[in-house]
């Protein structure tokens, strides 16, 4: 019975009053004659559904009333809608990002059971890197914790024969990769074990995007042939549009095949490994097993596998760096600040409105309106306003997704743009409802607590408890604003710090592009030399060209190419970053030549092996001595390289990471390692490099009309791309900070306006008693200032904590930067004063005679 009465509270009070007793009587009578379980099974849905229907009916009745009263207060309505829109927009946008990067399951079968495999070399500071084919094969054979596993790698290739030659990202998979991922193809089939065999036909699985681009209807790709780097492959399958492994740029997949020779290569670390845990196996077990297998291999192959460990990492954790996780959480935290600020604003706005309508409410009470009815009307208004604001907010969030998309880590194999979908909309709706209920009903319930007409009619000073609450809201808003400003400032400084890192070369006025020479066409050094000479000689002859040369990879575009270097007299190995270059590379990039000479044309296959090393390598191996003439062996690359020159270091791995020392070899002394054949052309000009693009394209076309040109860009842009994501972060956080700032200003303004309007009598009395107008002004400005200071005081430790939490993405900027704090606090105080100027001025203009008379 008690439960029934409790459920009856779902109905509106008026309905309950009219029919509640009867419904209880019916229920009691029923209970006497029926089975309890069946009865409840029928009763609960009946009550819930009908209560909902009746509430909706009442809402529909109240809606015209609510709209009418809102239309009579347009400024209030617009302000509430704007504030709600900003708060909900920020929250929805941040949640979209959070969900996309951290929460949403990866689009594979049972993604929590999928792991990535890595080698480790902790002694040399490598926590994760690729596997070699031999290590992978041994480990695959020995492992018991996986139900499937595979290896993959990606590269770029040329697609010819379908219109203009295209440069595509391609991934090579062993069949185990598709099996592990468990994604069904859109059409045709995925690669299977038969495709792993070296003698099997050349096939390819294409992505949905590529199939559509080439053939219109993706299904028509099946059976077609594609010419990829002069090798013809038959399309056997098409993947669905959302499949984007290992990255979003990969357009097609081919089998990864290993000849017995390749399979025994234990030192070529180029495979990425993926596996699915067997049911019942845990990732810790898998990791322990990987480590023990690695230890065993260290014993069996003491030279090749010295110091090599192995580890297993969950896929999502592997693909989202701690930095990107911190970033996403930072964005979410910023959004929370904005939401809290918005909520504080809404609370004040709605409360003020309730107070302002006391007269009107008193009339309604006199005409017989019940308390619940009044609360319900207010709630309807709030729901309408929050609904409109929420809709606008969602639109804002969706409009902002392109900016948000730049914060999604590249490595995460999810769709490009986080979309606004059901989960996000549900979150936004929940936020909207909570906002409207909390801030619509809260003030109403409090103020309608006592429906005493007289109490309602008087305009006496408000309850001190509520005015303290309102002041607290404003303090909270200021606090949120200051915190956000500090965090934005820290990120700004971090970005400036990154930008001030010296890359080691001079990037201005250098044009770059890539011509990846296909093999076997350019398999011989002769062929490559002819190509480079043709292009470089003609390029150098162009007016405005200062210097031109080729390199394996420009700095900052490729972090690999790490091999071990050893020298006589030093037992240790040093990991170096290798590049093959044409002469004048250092002059082209503005890398200072510190000692010795550059590589030259005479450093060809018949000459002694010559190498140019970077300063850090020289200092490591031969501190304080002359490095010229010393000998180095580099694994795989060659033995017996003589140092002929020393150059400055460059930041090969980018501005934010530390790079290995570099070694440069003449391109004519390259043996194998086709992947490192010089492909990046750099041209230093005295004028605007962009104007040279058509001419340079023509030069390359004349040299080889079939050669694909890609990645045409300025070296300045390569460097700028290093801070591209930081700039996106800064934009997002900057926007949030601005919104919070605006909302807090509105909040201060609102509070002060209300304070002034309720204290006009007091002000009038003061002025009549001899106070000066500027005293009144100072009184209110002082109130605003106090709120600002209180907010700032609470914000400082909060901002410090936030700064500490953001340390992974701050590039060494400490959270305790006084200048930033001072600037943020000063801004907040300025905002408090500016926000209160208008109301304070209004107070100062009060005519004492008028106000005292009105009392």
């Amino acid at each position: 019975m008690f439960l029934y009465r409790l459920l009856l509270r779902l109905f509106p009070a008026s309905f309950r009053a009219a029919y509640g007793d009867e419904m209880c009587a019916v229920f009691a009578a029923r209970r006497r004659s029926e089975n309890a379980a069946m009865l409840w099974a029928n009763t609960i849905p009946d009550l819930v559904i009908n209560a909902a229907r009746i509430q909706l009916d009442v809402l529909r009745q109240d809606l015209p009333w609510a709209l009418r009263s809102l239309r009579r207060a347009p400024r209030f309505a617009i302000t509430v809608v704007a504030v709600a829109a900003l708060g909900i927009g920020a929250g929805t946008a941040a949640f979209t990002l959070l969900d996309h990067v951290l929460l949403r399951p990866l689009p594979f079968l049972d993604p929590d059971r999928v792991v990535l495999l890595y080698q480790t070399d902790l002694a040399r500071g490598y926590a994760r890197f690729e596997l070699s084919p031999a290590n992978f094969a041994d480990w695959q054979a020995a492992s018991t914790t996986f139900e499937s596993s595979g290896a993959y790698g990606s590269t770029r290739i040329n697609l010819t024969g379908e219109g203009d030659p295209m440069r595509l990202n391609m991934a090579a998979f062993t069949s185990g990769v598709f099996q592990t991922l468990g994604v069904e193809p859109f059409a045709g089939r995925v690669l299977d074990t038969a495709d792993d065999r070296v003698d099997a036909p050349d096939v390819a699985v294409v992505g949905f995007g590529l199939a559509s681009a080439l053939f219109g209807d993706p299904a028509r790709a099946l059976g077609r042939t594609l010419n990829l780097n002069d090798r013809v492959r038959t399309v056997v399958g098409v993947m669905p549009p959302e499949f984007s492994f290992p990255s979003r740029e990969v357009a097609l997949w081919v089998p990864y095949r290993f000849t017995p020779a390749e399979l025994s290569n234990r030192r070529d670390f180029r495979l990425a490994g993926i596996a699915r845990l067997r049911p019942g196996a845990s990732i810790d077990q898998a990791r322990a097993e990987a480590e023990s297998i690695a230890t065993r291999l260290q014993r069996e192959y003491p030279d090749d596998n010295r110091g090599l460990g192995a580890t297993v990492v969950e896929m999502r954790a592997a693909l989202t760096s701690p930095q990107s996780r911190v970033l996403v959480l930072a964005v979410f935290g910023a959004a929370l600040c904005v939401i809290l600020t918005a909520c504080g604003n809404l609370a004040t706005l709605l409360f003020v409105r309730v107070m302002m309508r006391k007269q009107e409410t008193a009339v309604r009470v006199a005409l017989g309106a019940g308390r619940e009815r009044l609360v319900r009307l207010l709630l309807t208004e709030s729901v309408v306003l929050a609904g409109i604001g929420g809709t606008i907010g969602v639109v804002l969030a969706v409009a902002g997704t392109p900016l948000l998309a730049r914060l999604v880590p590249d490595a995460l194999p999810v769709a490009d743009l986080p979309g606004a979908d059901l989960r996000v909309l549900a979150f936004a709706t929940m936020l909207t409802l909570m906002t409207s209920i909390a801030f619509g009903v809260g003030p109403a319930l409090r103020s309608y607590g006592r429906l005493d007409v007289n109490a309602l009619r008087s305009r006496s000073a408000t309850d001190s408890r509520t005015s303290r609450a309102r002041a607290a809201f404003v303090v909270a808003q200021v606090c949120g604003t200051v915190t956000l400003l500090v965090c934005t400032g820290l990120l700004l400084e971090a970005m400036q710090r990154v930008e001030s890192v010296d890359p080691g070369f001079r990037s201005e006025r250098v044009l770059t592009l890539r011509t990846e020479l296909p093999f076997p066409k350019y398999g011989s050094i002769e062929a490559r030399r002819e190509f480079y000479s043709s292009v470089l000689d003609r390029a150098r002859a162009l007016p405005g060209v200062v210097q031109a040369s080729y390199t394996s990879f420009l700095p900052m575009v490729f972090g690999g190419g790490i091999f071990s270097a050893t020298t006589a007299g030093d037992p240790g190995e040093i990991a170096v970053s290798i590049r093959f270059v044409t002469p004048d590379y250092f002059a082209t990039l503005g890398i200072p030549l510190l000692d010795g000479r550059d590589v030259a044309d005479r450093d060809d296959a018949s000459a002694p092996l010559a190498a140019v090393i970077s300063q850090s390598l020289a200092s490591r191996l031969w501190p304080g001595q002359n490095a010229i003439g010393r000998q180095l062996d580099v694994e795989v690359v060659g033995r017996g390289w003589t140092v002929v020159g020393v150059v400055g270091d460059v930041t090969v791995r980018g501005l934010e990471r530390s790079s290995e020392p570099q070694m440069y070899f003449p391109f004519q002394q390259q043996q194998d390692l086709n992947f490192y054949a010089p492909k990046d052309l750099a041209i230093r000009t005295s004028g605007d490099p962009l104007t040279l693009i058509p001419v340079v394209r023509e030069i390359i076309r004349e040299t080889d009309p079939q050669q694909v040109i890609s990645d045409v860009r300025l070296l300045d842009d390569v460097v700028a791309a290093q801070t591209g994501s930081r700039r996106a972060q800064l934009s997002v956080l900057g926007i949030f900070a601005s919104v919070a700032f605006l909302l807090a200003a509105v909040g201060v303004h609102g509070l002060l306006s209300y304070a002034v309007s309720t204290r006009t009598k007091e002000v009038g009395v003061r002025l009549a008693l001899g106070a000066r107008r500027q005293d009144v002004l100072r009184m209110f400005l002082g109130q605003a200032l106090k709120l600002g200071i209180a907010g700032a005081a609470v914000a400082v430790p909060l901002a410090y904590a936030a700064g500490r939490a953001m340390e992974p993405i701050l590039f060494g900027v400490g959270p305790g930067n006084l200048v930033i704090y001072a600037a943020a606090v000063a801004l907040a105080l300025a905002m408090a004063i500016v926000g209160s100027l208008v109301p304070a001025a209004r107070a100062a203009r009060v005519q004492p005679a008028v106000t005292v008379r009105n009392e």
Binding site: F15, A25, I49, N50
Partner: protein, 115 residues
């Protein structure tokens, strides 16, 4: 209000009108009457019933009655309802509408009996 503007009547409304056709009843009695009348097929729950009653009162199809049955049979908690003249009119209009539908169904072969 025009009777035809309320057509077609929701089934629950029609059954309540039928239950009140012969005598005034209170809520539980309506439920029992409808149940027995439909041979146990339609069992009204309290929520559905009173929501309909609420609406029917607003529409003027029924009214609360002041007169009570004899004191021994009366229960003070209960409110009795009586069908109004308007309610009778609407019930008749609905019955006519339903009969017309059945005639059409017969003509198309969907209902037993002759057209």
């Amino acid at each position: 209000m025009d009777a035809s503007s309320l057509l077609p009547l929701p089934p629950v409304t029609f059954h309540i009108l039928l239950a009140l056709a012969e005598e005034d009843r209170h809520g539980y009695a309506i439920i029992q009457d409808v149940e027995s009348r439909t041979g146990g097929e339609l069992r009204l729950e309290a929520g559905t019933l009173y929501r309909s009653i609420h609406r029917m009162l607003e529409q003027g199809l029924i009214e609360e009655t002041r007169s009570r049955p004899t004191p021994e049979l009366d229960d003070e908690r209960r409110r009795y309802y009586r069908i109004t003249k308007f309610g009778v009119e609407v019930a008749r209009a609905e019955a006519r509408r339903l009969a017309q539908l059945v005639r059409l169904a017969r003509k198309s072969g969907f209902a037993p009996g002759n057209a």
